[in-house]
């Protein structure tokens, strides 16, 4: 009776196709929203620029002395990249989902014969695109203050891919939190308070050797440190060692835990 064609029994292949198709529709929806919120876009790009300049010129002089000859710009940029991408992921995904819930858009999606999880995948994928944009801006600012890609082209590509993939993993954490808290305000404040210790108690801004030993123990095993160290190696063209595969393992592990949690929460979100 209509142009809607949906066979009653879809095969696995057919289901996977629709899952991706639905996710793509939602991704496009979220991407279309980005340029229409220029104020949000402005602050999202301004914040990392401010961080780069403040850290480089306020702390740079003091910290550089303990770096043994490495330039602080070169040390700092991987840290700022990771910190910005994590805050970006958690901010846009968590707040985005909480906002959609509040406005009833999630309800509309849930009343459609679409794949449930596509709503979340579409959100997290769109946020990867937004992160890619901020990374591009940060690279430009980084190059201006003395950061350089010393490694091979492949190393640099690996580093950026790892960075975005790590951010994607944190989007799933944020999706879970966004569904858990149910209010935009809570997603805004409580949503990323846990990111501060995670990013500051890491090798992002200072070498971990100068921290008290108990904190150093945490910082050295912090996945944020591991990813930053891997990025540093790739950018500097030095051997990445175990940090490369450990970064990948952490990222996959975080997704493996939080994507199912977010999906589970999404299914139940308002069915009770």
């Amino acid at each position: 009776m209509t142009s809607v064609s949906m066979p009653a029994n879809e095969g696995v292949f057919e289901r996977a196709k629709w899952w991706l198709s639905d996710a793509w529709v939602i991704t496009v929806r979220n991407l279309r929203r980005i340029p229409r919120q220029p104020d949000m876009l402005f602050f999202i790009t301004l914040q990392p620029i401010m961080f780069i300049l403040l850290f480089r010129y306020v702390f740079g002089g003091a910290i550089e002395k303990s770096l043994g000859g490495e330039s602080y710009a070169q040390f700092l940029m991987p840290g700022i990249f990771v910190q910005t991408v994590l805050f970006g992921s958690v901010g846009t995904t968590g707040i985005g989902i909480a906002d959609d819930m509040k406005r009833g858009i999630i309800d509309r999606f849930r009343s459609l014969p679409m794949s449930r999880t596509s709503v979340l995948l579409g959100r997290t994928l769109a946020d990867v695109a937004l992160n890619a944009l901020t990374v591009a801006i940060m690279v430009a600012v980084g190059l201006a203050i003395g950061f350089r890609f010393e490694g091979s082209f492949l190393d640099s590509v690996l580093a950026i891919a790892m960075l975005l993939f790590f951010g994607f993993a944190f989007s799933w954490v944020a999706a879970f939190i966004g569904l858990l808290v149910k209010s935009v305000e809570a997603a805004q404040s409580g949503g990323f308070i846990w990111l501060f210790p995670l990013t500051f108690a890491s090798s992002a801004f200072v070498p971990t050797e100068d921290m008290p030993s108990w904190l150093q123990a945490f910082a050295d095993n912090n996945p944020v440190t591991i990813v930053i160290n891997a990025l540093r190696a790739w950018f500097n063209g030095t051997p990445v060692g175990s940090d490369g595969w450990l970064s990948l393992a952490w990222t996959v592990g975080i997704i493996a835990v939080f994507a199912p949690l977010a999906v589970w929460k999404f299914r139940r979100a308002s069915t009770q």
Partner: protein
């Protein structure tokens, strides 16, 4: 999708119970809605209207009881139900930052129409709902009325067999409300099966073929608007006379004509008495009052409104009750 019309009602709700903590939002609610008809679900805030719609549209699961749409059980086959329904309401929304066209096209894609068909359907619906120009603008620039029209259009994208409209005019100004009524009436004329919840008695009266009245999660009455009105009594004659001194004379005259004892309000110098036969009784009334030398200030035959129905059935007015809406507000 060739769903031949099922035999039997399009909507069946049987003994639904849904609790939020101690609040019983639905307390054994049962009703049916027929194919091609508009079922008006009338009740104050917190009566359980939205909870019922959310269960029927698969957004919420009931604690117990059964609900089906076109013969498909909503709890057992939610995905099949989603292909049959359209939902517009307090909770189902459109995206503020997308244009009207983009919203409709997205809905089409999510209903898994081919890209070209989804675009054509978006154009068609914008035209039908007189949003062609607005369709190019972001929804956040729309007026309340335009937004609701787009919301209805969005729920019509896949030509649903059953539409749920949850308080489609709540919060609209009178002009937009009348505009919405027109839109809904057109859908009704097309033969769309519809469940419409409302707190506005006038709205149910205007749009619905069948009305159910619910309060505290229970069905308290059902029937056509006419039947419901008849259940609280028929027509009444209302007379206002020249002053308190004339009330007794008027009372006697009215009693003589109608055989019923009038209800008297001395202060307002008014009398009310049940009558039969409508306007045909008026000449005799006027003659009798004239003979009794009563000055007639006002005279009217009134028919009961759904407001009277509500007051009679629940003991409270329909719109004043906003204290008990916790059950519906607390679910997010």
């Amino acid at each position: 999708m060739d769903k031949s019309p099922q035999d039997g009602p399009a909507i069946i709700v049987e003994d639904l119970v849904k609790t939020y903590g101690k609040q019983r939002a639905l307390d054994g609610l049962s009703f049916t809605g027929e194919q091609g008809q508009v079922l008006g679900v009338l009740g104050p805030n917190g009566a359980g209207k939205t909870t019922a719609v959310r269960i029927l549209s698969t957004l919420l699961s009931a604690d117990s009881g059964r609900a089906s749409v076109c013969g498909v059980d909503v709890a057992k086959h939610p995905q099949r139900v989603r292909k049959l329904i359209g939902l517009t309401g307090q909770y189902a929304a459109v995206d503020e930052f997308l244009t009207g066209w983009e919203n409709l096209e997205m809905m089409g894609r999510l209903f898994r129409m081919p890209a070209k068909a989804a675009r054509a359907r978006a154009d068609e619906l914008l035209e039908r709902f007189e949003l062609v120009d607005a369709g190019k603008r972001a929804v956040k620039t729309y007026s309340g009325g335009m937004r609701r029209r787009l919301d209805i259009a969005a729920s019509l994208v896949a030509r649903p067999q059953v539409m749920f409209l949850d308080e489609p005019t709540t919060g609209l100004d009178p002009h937009s409300r009348i505009e919405m009524w027109k839109v809904i009436s057109e859908l009704v004329a097309d033969g769309t099966t519809m469940l419409l919840t409302t707190q506005y008695l006038e709205e149910a009266d205007q749009l619905a073929n069948q009305i159910i009245v619910i309060d505290h999660g229970r069905l308290i009455a059902s029937g056509t608007a006419t039947e419901l009105k008849a259940s609280v009594g028929g027509e009444r004659l209302e007379v206002v006379v020249g002053g308190a001194a004339e009330v007794q004379a008027a009372r006697g005259a009215l009693h003589h004509i109608t055989g019923e004892e009038p209800i008297v309000d001395e202060e307002a110098a008014s009398l009310r008495v049940p009558v039969r036969g409508g306007a045909t009784i008026l000449p005799a009334v006027i003659r009798a009052l004239d003979d009794a030398e009563v000055t007639l200030k006002d005279l009217a035959i009134t028919r009961p409104t759904l407001d009277d129905v509500f007051l009679t059935l629940t003991g409270h007015a329909a719109e004043a009750d906003s204290t008990s809406d916790a059950s519906e507000g607390a679910q997010q």
